[in-house]
Symmetry: C2
């Protein structure tokens, strides 16, 4: 479970720290709802098309997995944090299909944490996230920098 304190700020993210958190059950309804709206490829909508595909069964859109991870990050440590936003994602790897009924957890590693040179009230924390299923398989990996305000502004 997460060891992050409530209301984390930039200072609370310690490079090298590894935490694991969350238990998100993926439902069939949610898989089909997301795919219908954003990624209606047959293997994300239909059991038979899923079985005939590389995925081996009806499986979630990779973008749905990203959205689920975002929700788990929010619930796990970003809710109430000093997060300011993110400039983007360095890499996403969809390694295994995510199936309805899977229960996902997050392994979060803090790669580095650097104060901003130009804006002394904030810093950027670079995370590596692994989304894991109930079998302990890593289904998705991504590297993701996020800006957090510092607990005390260092002044301008």
């Amino acid at each position: 479970m997460t060891t992050t304190r409530p209301y984390p700020a930039f200072e609370d993210f310690v490079p090298g720290e590894i935490t694991t958190f969350g238990a998100y059950e993926v439902t069939r309804e949610e898989v089909i709802d997301f795919a219908s709206q954003f990624d209606p490829q047959p293997f994300h909508l239909d059991e038979e098309a899923g079985r005939a595909s590389m995925l081996g069964g009806l499986a979630a859109s990779g973008w749905h997995s990203c959205a689920i991870l975002m929700r788990m990050m929010f619930d796990g440590f970003m809710n109430g944090s000093t997060s300011i936003g993110s400039p983007g994602i360095d890499e996403v790897r969809w390694l295994k299909p995510v199936f309805p009924g899977d229960v996902l957890s997050v392994r979060r590693e803090i790669l580095d944490a650097r104060p901003s040179a130009s804006k002394p009230d904030r810093g950027v924390v670079r995370f590596r996230f692994q989304l894991m299923n109930q079998k302990g398989e890593v289904v998705m990996e991504q590297t993701n920098p996020i800006f957090f305000a510092r607990r005390q502004s260092a002044g301008a």
Copy 2:
């Protein structure tokens, strides 16, 4: 508008080709719905919190922009194509906020297209996508490899 033929297969993706397509109007309701489900940070839910943030107003989650791009890709050229799936995303850059009322279009560049060495029935096409708003500003960029089956299998 897209110049892609119906039912595109691997052979139809020509490196260097640039196409522009789509007109997706982002609604306030959709921004709040997506954020409520997947990314409930205050600046994605509330006008005032958005104005107080780096975004300058209520703005879509970056993951919502990714999902919208996926839908525009589907409608623009993947529907009915021989797409098999994607191993991941090489890079995502969220460059400008996406606001309710924005009308988004896609600029697609084909970076390269390589037949698979191990699986002769398919190849991987690497795309660079730019999501643009109605002012012509690039709001998001990403680089994305996608597997497509070849029109005629080269045999095993």
